[in-house]
């Protein structure tokens, strides 16, 4: 808990304590903690002197502001139509088999979380996915296996 307090205070010092500061602060928490806990949200509300319900509202609005514990690497596979037609289902199955988790789950060792997301803007090179901030495109079974194996090796 004290670390969260420090983290939030540091982020508020950096980004300010206005309403506009809320998003960068929440993003900062996700970068450090990989998700925003209720304790963290309450701390942000206190630091910014604003309602905790509004912090919760903002955090739940944005897909990339995770409010549940996530693994070290968050895989977000595009589920929108173009990628879907280009074979997203097979990619998903491959990842699920490799990591032994289903969509929405986090691996036991807390290293990977698997999610689906809406269009990433890479439709012309689908299927596409994100691992944390990194984009991977034109996936096929081999490519995605290689990528995931790489991550596993470098943990």
């Amino acid at each position: 808990m004290p670390e969260i307090k420090e983290l939030v205070k540091g982020l508020a010092d950096k980004h300010g304590r206005n309403r506009e500061s809320l998003l960068p602060i929440l993003q900062g928490i996700v970068t450090e903690e990989r998700f925003i806990s209720d304790v963290a949200m309450a701390e942000v509300a206190k630091e910014l002197d604003m309602s905790a319900a509004l912090v919760y509202g903002t955090a739940t609005f944005y897909s990339f502001l995770d409010t549940e514990p996530r693994g070290k690497y968050v895989i977000r596979l595009c589920k929108t139509i173009t990628c879907d037609m280009k074979g997203k289902k097979q990619i998903l199955k491959t990842i699920e088999d490799l990591l032994k988790i289903k969509v929405g789950e986090t691996s036991k060792d807390k290293n990977f979380t698997l999610l689906e997301t809406n269009c990433l803007g890479w439709c012309h090179k689908g299927p596409a996915m994100l691992i944390n901030d990194q984009v991977f495109t034109e996936l096929d079974e081999d490519k995605v296996t290689e990528i995931i194996d790489d991550y596993i090796r470098n943990i």
Partner: protein, 596 residues
């Protein structure tokens, strides 16, 4: 900027002040446009689209509540396109709505139901999505029930809680089809910063936010031969109850209300105004004591300014938001709770009734009073002091259930012992009323003369201004109060918690030099309370306030300390204000709460 614009609606020309909306202009012509998210007290949200109209030369329909009226506009409010669009809006809302009207508390009192009725919607145009929705109902709070299956996400509640109350216990969470109105982490309303003020309840157009009702419990108590059921009625109920029973806003129904309560079967019909008078005695004395400690004893621990404590919404607000100022709050319980504590002690003794057989019911303009009645602090009589707190609305329901023709009832009086009151007690129901009542008594205690205002009307503290300041110079005091000679007693009155917050910020920043602060959680004071008839609009609040001051002027006794039953209770039971017995029964302390 008193520019006017001219437009044409449904073939009729109309001029209206610039800055007003197409909806305002239509109202001026008595053309009814349906609305759901729009509310007079709140900023425009424009999210429900049920108020759409057609504007000539514009392709899309426009939302009349959000569209500024402009010169030369030609508007049609009843075209094929408009009717279809509105109908689709309502049908889409219903496709996600648990429209179980016959089992809904808002049945016959629901804006969505009214609209569906008006549009004669009798089949599902769209898929019924309710079974897939996983809606939840929060029934943990003793005051407010939140049922998401009835919510149309108009966000009136969110805006109310933010704009009027500065609390934001409710926000909008998630997005798209998952969007919902939520507290922090979807905790119960009982566990968050919510003040139970019920301002969201009186603005919710559906059954999504309602008071928890205690109708059956009260009927059971009445029917129980073994129980002696006493009822108290708050100052603001008598000028609003009529609205729910077919009468005009601003009707004074004190006598009819007493008659109705007797016919409902209450064993004793008593008046919270009595304990409002008692509050003035206790709180006035407390203020004078604090002033003496500050000015004469130079006691650095005494907390000034002192704030009032009769609004339970305000109490919960300060517990969460300004806990460091809890010592500034008067230790007086609210009139409801003073009454409750006395009903099972003083009243029981005088009447020779076993207090365990007394059921004490209150009729309040308020939902926060339900929470207050259930507070652990409120059991000083040895029992729960107030067993059930009902809203003005619930009383109206009971009167209808009993088949009473309210309008034709004769005027009757309250029973005695705790039924006598003064005009000072009555004005508790309006913002500024506690201050006015306190000044009428305090000034007279200190100087031996009436307050220097014509006909006791302390006009600077009256009216709907959000924050009202008034200073009263105290001169030619009685010898016992010489330390107050020449002192200018500085007061401020705030209503609506956003205004309360402004006042508390000033206190916090040290920019204020007030001695005494009156705060009411609800806009307009109790007369605009969360338990009052729906709708409550600025105009209705004004009419209720006028009625309160009319009632005051019509009373034989206008000052709390002149109420004979007040004099009697001090003589026969309490001793004097702030006596040990008073402290035991009439005073309390509150504790800090977290702000989530």
């Amino acid at each position: 900027m008193a520019n006017t614009v001219k437009l044409n609606i449904d073939g009729i020309d109309v001029s209206i002040d610039a800055g007003k909306t197409v909806l305002d202009a239509a109202k001026k012509l008595n053309i009814h446009i349906p609305t759901l998210c729009y509310h007079e007290d709140l900023c425009v949200a424009g999210n429900c689209r049920v108020c759409v109209v057609e504007q000539e030369g514009v392709k899309n329909l426009v939302a009349s509540c959000a569209m500024p009226a402009q010169d030369g506009m030609v508007i049609h409010t009843n075209t094929h396109k408009v009717r279809n669009a509105r109908r689709h809006v309502v049908e889409l809302l219903l496709s996600e709505h648990n429209a179980d009207c016959t089992k809904c508390y808002k049945n016959t009192r629901c804006e969505l139901q009214d609209l569906a009725g008006e549009m004669v919607i009798n089949e599902h145009m769209f898929l019924d999505l309710v079974p897939d929705k996983n809606y939840t109902i929060d029934m943990l709070s003793p005051a407010i029930i939140k049922d998401d299956s009835k919510c149309i996400r108009c966000q009136r509640c969110v805006r109310t809680c933010q704009e009027l109350q500065h609390v934001s216990a409710l926000g909008v969470a998630y997005k798209g089809e998952h969007m919902k109105i939520s507290t922090f982490f979807e905790h119960s309303m009982y566990d968050v910063v919510c003040t139970n003020c019920g301002q969201c309840v009186i603005r919710c157009p559906t059954g999504a936010l309602i008071e928890k009702n205690y109708l059956d419990d009260v009927w059971d108590a009445i029917y129980d031969e073994d129980k002696h059921v006493v009822v108290q009625t708050a100052p603001a109920t008598r000028i609003a109850l009529g609205e729910d029973l077919g009468m005009e806003a601003g009707s004074i129904v004190t006598g009819k209300m007493a008659a109705a309560l007797r016919r409902l079967g209450f064993d004793s019909v008593l008046d919270t105004d009595f304990t409002a008078d008692l509050t003035i005695m206790e709180e006035g004395t407390e203020l004078l004591t604090r002033l003496k400690r500050a000015l004469v004893d130079k006691d650095p621990t005494v907390k000034l300014p002192m704030t009032t404590s009769c609004s339970p919404g305000w109490i919960k607000f300060i517990e969460h938001m300004y806990p460091e100022y809890l010592e500034n709050v008067s230790t007086c319980k609210s009139p409801q709770q003073m009454f409750g504590a006395l009903a099972k002690t003083y009243y029981a003794q005088k009447k020779g009734i076993d207090p365990s057989k007394i059921v004490s019911v209150s009729i309040m303009p308020c939902t926060a009073k339900k929470f207050e009645a259930n507070r652990p602090e409120m059991r000083d009589s040895g029992f729960q002091d107030v067993d059930m707190g009902l809203t003005t609305r619930e009383l109206a329901v009971m009167i209808k259930q009993a088949g009473i023709n309210f309008k034709e009832l004769p005027d009757e009086k309250f029973d005695n012992l705790m039924g006598e009151s003064s005009g000072a007690g009555v004005i508790f129901g309006a913002t500024g009323g506690v201050m006015e009542a306190a000044l009428r008594t305090v000034y007279e205690i200190v100087t031996g003369r009436e307050v220097p205002f014509e006909n006791l009307k302390i006009t600077p503290v009256r009216g709907m201004e959000g924050v009202k300041e008034a200073a009263v110079k105290i001169e030619n005091v009685l010898p016992a109060w010489s330390f107050l000679e020449g002192v200018e007693l500085k007061t401020v009155v705030a209503h609506g918690l956003t205004n309360a917050d402004k006042v508390m910020q000033a206190v916090k920043n040290g920019t204020a030099d007030w001695h005494f602060i009156e705060i009411m959680a609800c806009p307009g004071g109790c007369l605009g309370g969360g338990g009052q008839p729906i709708p409550t609009t600025p105009e209705i609040r004004k009419k209720r306030a006028e009625a309160i001051y009319r009632e005051d002027e019509g009373m034989a006794i206008r000052k709390s300390h002149e109420n004979p039953e007040i004099q009697q209770i001090y003589k026969e039971f309490l001793g004097e204000p702030l006596s040990d017995k008073s402290h035991w029964l009439l005073h309390t302390h509150y504790n800090a709460r977290k702000r989530v």
